[in-house]
Amino acid sequence: MKFGVVRFPGSCDEVDALGAAQRVGDAVLLWHADRDLQGVDAVIVPGGFSYGDYLRAGAIARFAPVMEEVAEFAREGGLVLGICNGFQVLCEAGLLPGALLPNPSLKFVFRQVGLEVVDSDTAFTRAAQPGQRLSIPVKHTTGRYFTPGPVHVVLRYAPGENPNGSQDDIAGVCNEAGNVFGLMPHPEHAVDALTGSTDGLRIFESMRASVDDRVAV
């Protein structure tokens, strides 16, 4: 199984995302200006400040050549994971519902948070248990999730842990088809006991298992 990790000018978490993916499979970097997804089985849109996040977080990156291919890949049912800025990009691109707004504190929040797995029956959380609590860090200024309509919630901040005023404590959502998932916390920074938690691996293991199942069918 091969992951592709998108690198925009201004990305900063693509190397950690690559390393996390390589713990469960093969992984390559995909350059923002390339239209070639190199035959990957799943795409990760990583965190950072794509194109400087000018105008609004993620607003410019959605027009990158590689994002046209990622959108097509998603329409065909391919697995797409957006982390932090990647979540913002996927929302701006219309691949996920809702939008991310500035934190009510207007401050950068950077801490380990507890998450609850609301739905463990998705391609991105099947390696976790229903209701399992995960410890994963957040680090963002624009993480307040808002959506005017119903949404498929996959992860919530545990009670009292909401770091950014997100509606209904929502930390991660997927699209109706279930093949595109975005979250503000950083699972790629929680894959080694050395840094406090390996809970983030559940996301990458889930994607690996989902792709393996598809290949086996």
């Binding site: 609004r56 809702g98 939008a99 707004l101 500035p102 207007l106 808002f146 959506t147 005017p148």
Partner: protein
């Protein structure tokens, strides 16, 4: 043509920038101020002003969270 686009947070969406300024004004002795909201001002030269609404919908604003207002033919003297 010089045009101006005003982008505001939609009604009902928490606007922490506006709230912060609203709380700061009384500290300076300005009373009776409420409903402060902070948005974005975009000025641009356009050859075809009929394209402005689509520009707003697709890039200049995020219609899910922001309202926009287009003001065409901004008076001369607007900064370039």
């Amino acid at each position: 043509m010089r045009a101006r686009v005003l982008v505001r947070p939609k009604e009902g969406i928490l606007d922490p920038q506006g709230q912060t300024v609203e709380r700061a004004l009384p500290a300076l002795g300005f009373t009776g101020v409420s409903g402060v909201h902070i948005g974005r001002l975009i000025e641009l030269d356009v050859e075809d002003a009929s394209q402005l609404p689509e520009m707003c919908e697709r890039l200049l604003a995020n219609p899910l969270i922001e309202d926009y207002e287009i003001i065409e033919d901004v008076a001369a003297g607007a900064p370039r």
